[in-house]
């Protein structure tokens, strides 16, 4: 009796839905990276609605961070306790304690009013390599190595960008004149980056049989940075799945109920 009308309404609803999504979808692609930056798309275990982190990869990534990045870059939103928390690299707590204890943390003042150094604890934040930005600049030729806690979210298409940048070092083309102390990088905006190439084949020892190549180091440390920036991703995907199932059932039930209620009232 109301099929035509219902159809018209359905079409209206569909148009509404499409419009909402189109309006929203309009926003993001407008902010793509610079055209001449070469960004390689990699398949990551954590993308998609069911994505989760690859524990072994995060553990290897942490190793790369520790051995290479940590000498210049801090990650001060991470705490040592995070290393053994669910949804991350999930190191055994004992291992996380060892990592924490291997750094010196400033504490105090003690009874004499002096600050003192003590071994790190699980509750401590990652210790940054420099006291402040000025010290970091002095040690790095005037360039400031940024904190990496949020780096994977702080660049457009963050993970692919970081992976491309870490693997994007190349010899400068003949027509490009490089500034003093800068390195050519195909993924970096402007192609001149102050960070020397950080990764070399065989420079870090992997114990799980993963080939020790620049490509793997870059991939692993990028995944680690993604976890550092978004440590609740797995929980988000898990809760999201349940919420979506619930909402779809509720919408279905309400639709049937709405048809029932209206079928009587329409006469």
């Amino acid at each position: 009796m109301d099929s035509l009308d219902t159809l018209a309404r359905w079409r209206t609803a569909q148009i509404a839905g499409v419009l909402v999504i189109a309006l929203l979808a309009l926003a993001a692609p407008l902010r793509a990276a610079e055209d001449d930056q070469i960004i390689r798309k990699e398949a990551w275990s954590f993308t998609g609605p069911f994505g989760i982190y690859d524990r072994a990869q995060l553990q290897r990534g942490f190793l790369v961070y520790q051995e290479v990045c940590a000498s210049c870059h801090g990650m001060h939103y991470l705490h040592y306790r995070n290393l053994s928390e669910a949804g991350g690299p999930e190191f055994p707590e004992a291992a996380a304690k060892v990592v924490a204890a291997s750094v010196e943390v400033e504490d105090g003042p003690d009874d004499q009013g002096e600050m003192y150094m003590r071994p790190g604890r699980l509750s401590d934040a990652f210790v940054s390599p420099f006291q402040n930005d000025q010290e970091a600049r002095v040690a790095n030729n005037g360039a400031l190595p940024p904190d990496l806690s949020l780096m994977a979210k702080a660049r457009p298409d963050g993970v692919n960008y970081l992976y491309s940048m870490l693997t994007g070092y190349a010899d400068a083309p003949a027509d490009v004149s490089m500034a003093e102390g800068m390195y050519y990088n195909t993924a970096f905006a402007g192609h001149q980056i102050a960070m020397p190439p950080p990764l070399f084949d065989d420079s870090i020892e992997y114990t799980d049989g993963t080939p020790p190549t620049i490509d793997n180091y870059a991939k692993d440390v990028t995944a680690f940075m993604m976890w550092a920036a978004e440590p609740k991703l797995e929980e988000r995907h898990r809760v999201g799945f349940r919420v979506m199932i619930y909402l779809i059932i509720v919408a279905g039930l309400l639709y049937v109920a709405k048809r029932r209620v209206w079928s009587r009232g329409a006469h």
Binding site: D5, A13, I21, P49, K153, A154, R236, V243
Partner: protein
Amino acid sequence: MAHKSNYVPQSAFEKWLDERLPVVRLMKDQFIDFPTPRNLNYWWTFGGILIFCLIAQMMTGIVLAMHYVANESMAFESIEHIMRNVNWGWLIRYTHAVGASMFFAAAYLHMFRGLYYGSYKAPREILWILGVVILLLMIATSFMGYSLPWGQMSFWAVTVITNLFSSFDSVIPGLGTRIVQWVWGGFSVGNPTLNRLFSLHYLLPFMIAGVVILHIWALHVPGNNNPTGIDVKRSSEAMPFHPYYTIKDGFALAVFAIVFAAFVFYAPNYLGHSDNYIPADPLVTPTHIVPEWYFLPFYAILRAIPSKLFGVIAMFGAIMVLFVVPWLDSSPIRSLRYRPMLKLFFWAFVVTCVALGYLGAMPPDGIYLLSARLGTFYYFAFFLVVLPVVGRIETPTQMPGSITEDIMSKERRRRAALEGGAPAGAPAAPEKR
């Protein structure tokens, strides 16, 4: 209010209460029995959706304020604390951030609905004006909220937008600068600015809630408009709000919630800017300063005008012009269903708004700037020229005499279609049962 109350107090207590504070009567009359046109389509569900959005933003916002620190050296860190340490903090913050976008998406669709079906025309002018007031408050609130994480985009958005006031310098020299310093509480955007933005961001939603109550009041005096734009003439043309529209709004809300949840759980940062994950740095401006998507059309208008002062005037004018829409439209017919000429102009206007949104994110030069200028011209021309003129020159199509007649003619067409086989081009109709 327009209809007779059906409320009969059941118990002695209800009777006692009803004589002193008839809230139960008010709720029953206005939200259960309220006579609502029976032909409202799904575009009419956004009002309910918007109330949901406001409540969701206020609830998540109050919770976030329990953990957020409005201090320039701690704001960014406190957001990360919420994301990492607070129980469910990531969910609450992402819901709040995505919620702002969903709020605007629903509000814009609600407004286009009002424009298309002439819901701003007598006797609903005040209803429309209150809606525009709500839009202004929403803009102010979301802008202030966006500043609170104190990331790079937050900081520079505040800097750029507050500097708009300096355009008054070209009216009275020094006036703009004085205003800007007053807004900042200093000589640059800093801690006093952040604190007042937080205070006002907390205050304004309550003002929105107040105006929303007036908005609903103003709706319930004349009652809903409907897709025909023809007033309800007999009681059979209306049905009680509950259960018919509660369940319809409920279904629409559930569908809306699916889109909302998809963003929160699977693309929470899709609508944001990566630059806002960099702490504010007063010494470095991001390469591309782009406002949130829902401000992009206004941003495009601002940049389309070469003069700073007139750019600002045009941007605010783009919203101010909405206030006088009820008096710009010269036609007595509400619904664009029966106004073929204005319908074309209307869709061109929708396309223009979307296009201005796109252009607002593009660099303001070359073809983009030219397009933005054309778009700005049409945006204002639609209101100031098209609405007054088209009503005088167009020939409306045949209108049904009443809502009932409209429903009957639809029914006749449907019967004819069933008897004569499915009309060409019609999608496979799901037969009832």
